[in-house]
Symmetry: C2
Amino acid sequence: MREFKRKARVLLIDDNADHLRGVKELISLETNYDIVGTTTSANMGINLVKKYQPDLVLMDINMPEKDGLQAIQEIEKLELGTKIIALSGYDDADLIFRAMKIGAKGYVLKTMASAQLIYAIDEVLSGKVYLPSALSSRFFEYFQRTFKEESSNQNEENLLNYLTSREEEVLDLLTQGNNYKAIAGKLFISETTVKTHVNNIFQKLQVNDRTQAVLYALNNGFANKVRAKISA
Amino acid sequence: MREFKRKARVLLIDDNADHLRGVKELISLETNYDIVGTTTSANMGINLVKKYQPDLVLMDINMPEKDGLQAIQEIEKLELGTKIIALSGYDDADLIFRAMKIGAKGYVLKTMASAQLIYAIDEVLSGKVYLPSALSSRFFEYFQRTFKEESSNQNEENLLNYLTSREEEVLDLLTQGNNYKAIAGKLFISETTVKTHVNNIFQKLQVNDRTQAVLYALNNGFANKVRAKISA
DNA sequence: AATTTTCTAAATCCATGGATGTAAATCAAT
DNA sequence: ATTGATTTACATCCATGGATTTAGAAAATT
């Protein structure tokens, strides 16, 4: 275990007063931490963060009044470098994922052993991100499910594969919001030629207008394809 | 340590013959595993996966001939439920992230202790996702950096915030590729009213046409906003 | 109670977009 | 050498999209 030069300043936010007291006592037993404040209100918590600029915040994310996730976001927005560990009663994959996504450095269940919480605090204060292995498993499963679709979409029958390279260029410019005239100017070809290409694109993608074409492109990994081509 | 009913079938793919032999011997010492094949070629490896349908593949992802990540993707596409652990010489965050993204259930450095590899294999075979804590830290840092921009974009001066709720509905339908008539039909209002709304949207988003409006919406977290409103 | 915002609607006018057919030059592949 | 695909181009016609102005009713705010 690592030694800290000065005591780490910790703030507790938990609308459940009983649990709050329990955690406070638990942390008070540790010599490395200094509790700079406790509150049962998310809004008050944000104010206390501004005032005391703690090193670490333990944030209950299951609060009725204000969403704990939103509170985390607001603290992150302050950009004070405050590390945040989410405390939750639920090991819901979506919750874990969203908490990590908005910048929580850890996620600990209230039902977990107190030693686990202390360990998480130490890890996070030392600059790491800490998720108990049971929760990181959940996270990764969710993560992979979320991104599986993205990559599998790029296979199957992707109509984008039927486009010629010139049509890809035109579609790329369409996905940047250009109209016919702008595209013609950028590709040094006539506007009517662009119209021809765009019409062919519509046929191949089986859509009726430019907006649908752009949406098809974005939803089927067109940007990835173009970038892959550039880096190749 | 968990007991398996039958020996787990393992396939090794590593273009470094020396390392391949080492890992093979290491795994042979374990009584729970059955090595069904080894190869130094990614393409051959994919064929062996099809033939033997192993429970687990150890895949070196630093191969010159064929990209190991691509090989993982192709194995995933077979949908045989094959678990894959990526082996790599580098703890590069981007590599780790991409490997996990395409479905690797684990990522182990070649320099790590052999006990760590065995542990990873056990964990993955038992259905979990396993990343050594040093690597999972890397992963999460990368993950948070990647998504930080997305959420911070949603703050600043987001022009979407000026839209009325009706305008949001209209924009939502625009981002699904609807034209005026379709939107009018779905909202039970006249086409001219839709035009009015859309024009107001253009003004507020400072764009010139529907495609640009749709692009602005998608690039500024409009989908997230709409979903947040639904779940609220 | 008074005011502002929002939602609805229409008219008008012009610009842009989209469908269709034709066609020539170039290039790749058989 | 010939075929087929690609890129370029134009004409024509009609549909849709977009700008602007005006305006009534309802809802929210002050």
